[in-house]
Symmetry: C2
Subunit: 162 residues, 2 copies
């Protein structure tokens, strides 16, 4: 196999893993009732709705991190990333969160499809040029690798709700 | 960046993600007492010790799947993969499970370090030659990608124990 073919295959594998976790999340969230999502995943732990909001906010933050665009829902950072669940104030309805999940995914996927391998292997916006020379793995695609693991971690928790 | 350099970097990123989850698991398991590991992650759900055994058994099964060797602890499949937690009979002590986690990891990592890119992109033992021609992403490295996500999923659950 030629090296160029290898590289394209490797990028595809990473994007397929991202897509698989997103599909899993979408199916899981669709299968849960609002009542289930409102519950804590275990006594005293995060609620399903907090974890859902958290995953949307983290995906949304990938847009500027990967140099694609501003975030779509910047106000979610305060509620779902900077603060824990128990500090949460009344926020969007679950229906609105589900809508946002779809919107953020569609936006990210549109950019993903338009990104070529050189773009994927370029630095993301949170690493300096100097550091990137020494650590070329800190590229945009590696953000996708890490966020895929982060999503799987929380899916394992959300799965406890049903 | 040359295509060969790109391919090597992409393989490295995938192996780093695997290593990061394994480090996370090791640190988490070390931080939990035997009493905590014996508890259910949520009422009526799997215990920590079952999930630990499950992750060891799944990693152990990668040895034949990747064509490296036979499994080290084949008897774990029955207890920790084929059967759910609640069917579990008395098994190894937690100390023995922790030892096996380290042994399986060391064995896998030794093989990982000796694997070149062509080996990583060759088919694993659960896909036929014919299918592999059509779906070249079903290679050995993709098993690592998937198992990394699987581990993150269960780490998210084990994390509820502390």
């Amino acid at each position: 196999m030629e090296a160029t073919t290898q590289s394209n295959l490797l990028v595809k594998m990473i994007l397929m893993a991202w897509e698989a976790q997103n599909n899993y999340l979408n199916n899981l969230v669709s299968s849960l009732t609002d009542e289930q999502l409102t519950k804590e995943i275990a006594p005293g732990k995060n609620t399903g709705v907090y974890l859902l909001g958290h995953l949307i906010a983290v995906s949304d933050a990938m847009l500027p991190l990967l140099g694609f665009s501003d975030r779509l829902f910047p106000e979610m950072e305060e509620v779902f990333i900077k603060n824990p669940d128990k500090a949460r104030q009344a926020f969007s309805s679950i229906a609105e969160l589900k809508r946002r999940l779809a919107v953020v995914n569609a936006k990210l996927n549109g950019h993903f499809e338009a990104t070529e391998i050189d773009g994927w292997l370029s630095r993301h916006t949170a690493v300096s040029s100097d550091d990137f020379v020494k650590e070329p793995h800190r590229n945009k695609l590696n953000v996708v690798v890490n966020r895929t693991g982060h999503m799987a971690y929380h899916i394992g928790q959300l799965r406890l709700l049903n």
